[in-house]
């Protein structure tokens, strides 16, 4: 069971509260987690990674176990603590100035 924490705007869009829990068969990677997340919540398609390129949107970051995984390859295995459900995968909106 994989745990994912979404930023508040995306929780609002998907109408969920708290963490998302996902069952994933096969390798647990950024791609497989996002595929499962978007499969459960289709309205999130295009909001975390681009509809077409599947690239992470520039102002979003992926964190887990105190590490920034944003620049890891999409198919790289996620840490064991994520796979076991001990730690959540955090999807964060980057802090940015402006309004």
């Amino acid at each position: 069971m994989i745990r994912v924490v979404l930023p508040p705007h995306l929780r609002g869009l998907a109408r969920i509260a708290g963490e998302v829990e996902l069952e994933i068969e096969g390798p647990v990677t950024q791609r497989s987690v996002l595929d499962a997340l978007e499969g459960r919540y289709p309205m999130l398609r295009g909001t975390i990674r681009d509809h077409i390129t599947q690239q992470r949107r520039p102002f979003l970051r992926f964190f887990a176990c105190g590490e920034d995984l944003s620049h890891e390859l999409p198919d790289a295995p996620l840490p064991d603590a994520i796979v076991s459900g001990a730690e959540p995968l955090l999807i964060l909106g980057a802090i940015a100035g402006g309004d």
Binding site: P7, R40, Y41, M43, G46, H51, R57, L60
Partner: protein, 395 residues
């Protein structure tokens, strides 16, 4: 008695303001989609309960929202008519919407490029929907003007979008360039007397017209003069801020350009300046009285470098002569220390008698006049910065 519904898009959510036909007391609903930028929301003339919203975010991208009950509930289009909008677990089934630019049928490569800030050619990249224009006759057909500038159409209630790529691909694309706010298609006018005729305006490219339902396009910028571009009378490259028409005279267009207020009496084939006695002819909004096709409204802004009203006085200017002769409308508007802006999609008129005029400011105020501009009062005054204002007149 008639009702009025004012749809307000702001930097941090959508608000719906409602009143009876007297337009004295207003109820405020919102924020809807709190925290998201609402570039535009507009109701369908064919079905006033059908509302479309452009919800966008620099972090999370573009979402189209739709209401089929006048704003009480919302869905992201993607659920076939008649099917439940939620799945077995109660989760919404709709999905956010894709805006994918056409590619060349011959090469499979991107259709064209545009000029970037550095003067080099740059590929089109989708950023957001600036303006939504529902069809005049079919609630499921809706147009979207987007950044980078292009026109899309959906015929299934906002679920699937197809580019009308004759606009971007007709040949002048490489000479379009972004203005300070990006390269956006912000104005879409549908001719009520001719379903084949569509006008659009792009910053900074100019105005364009289609006479075949959006398949082919041509620039309509003759008479525009822009000193800030290398060739001031060029076919394209003009920073048009807004175009308005009266539905009874769709061949007469009024334009607020970056600088200059312009008028065309021949469907955009040529333009003449009608700035007349305005204190400054820079501005963003322009609109036409619902019952008087020669009565036009603008909000002069000091300059492109100083986006606030001249002398700190918020004044709407009205011309009853189709331009050139303008009078300041000030009653109820702040006449000192006012330094807000009024953005291009933030003015609208209702169709009651007397005509109601509404506009929103970057300071979060929405002002309204129930007597064609003679007297003004704030409907609400502490919203986030207002990006867009639309009005529905309801039975």
């Amino acid at each position: 008695m008639s009702k009025v519904r004012v749809l307000v898009g702001t930097k941090k959510g959508a608000f719906v303001l409602t009143s009876d036909g007297k337009r004295e007391r207003w109820e405020v609903s919102g924020p809807h989609f709190a925290g998201w930028e609402i570039y535009h929301m507009k109701g369908s003339p064919a079905d006033p309960k059908r509302l479309y919203v452009s919800q966008t975010s620099g972090w999370f991208g573009q979402v189209i929202q739709r209401s089929d009950d006048g704003g009480k509930t919302w869905i992201q289009p993607g659920t076939p008519p008649g099917e439940p909008t939620t799945g077995p677990g109660g989760m919404p089934k709709g999905e956010s919407n894709k805006f994918v630019y056409d590619t060349s049928a011959e090469t499979g490569r991107p259709l064209t490029t545009h000029q970037f800030y550095d003067g080099k050619q740059h590929p089109w990249e989708f950023k957001r929907v600036w303006h939504i224009e529902p069809s005049l006759t079919d609630a499921d057909t809706v147009y979207a003007g987007v950044e980078d500038a292009a026109l899309f159409r959906s015929t299934d209630g906002g679920q699937n979008w197809q580019e009308l790529s004759g606009l971007r691909g007709h040949g002048t694309g490489p000479r379009w360039q972004p203005g300070a706010g990006g390269m956006c298609l912000h104005t879409i006018l549908l001719d009520p007397s001719n379903p084949q005729r569509i006008y659009v305006a792009i910053s900074a490219a100019g105005a364009f017209r289609s006479d075949d339902g959006g398949k082919s396009w041509r620039p309509i910028n003759k008479g525009l003069h822009s000193q800030y571009i290398p060739e001031p009378t060029a076919e394209v490259g003009h920073c048009v801020h807004r175009i308005a028409m009266h539905r009874s005279r769709p061949n007469v267009l009024f334009m607020q350009k970056h600088w200059d207020v312009m008028r065309s009496d021949n469907a955009g084939d040529s333009w003449t300046e009608v700035s007349g006695n305005l204190p400054t002819d820079f501005g963003f909004v322009i609109d036409v009285h619902a019952h008087e096709p020669e009565t036009v409204y603008v909000v002069p802004i000091k300059s492109d470098g100083e986006h606030f009203p001249p002398e700190g006085k918020l004044r709407v200017y009205r011309s009853r002569t189709g331009g050139n002769e303008w009078e300041a409308l000030t009653k109820g508007l702040p006449q000192k220390d006012c330094y807000v802006n009024v953005l291009r999609d933030a003015m609208a008129v209702d169709s009651l008698d007397k005509c109601g005029i509404y506009f929103g400011t970057t300071g979060g105020q929405v002002y309204g006049s129930a007597d064609a501009g003679d007297n003004w009062a704030p409907l609400v005054r502490d919203l986030p910065a207002v990006l867009s204002v639309e009005v529905q007149t309801l039975p």
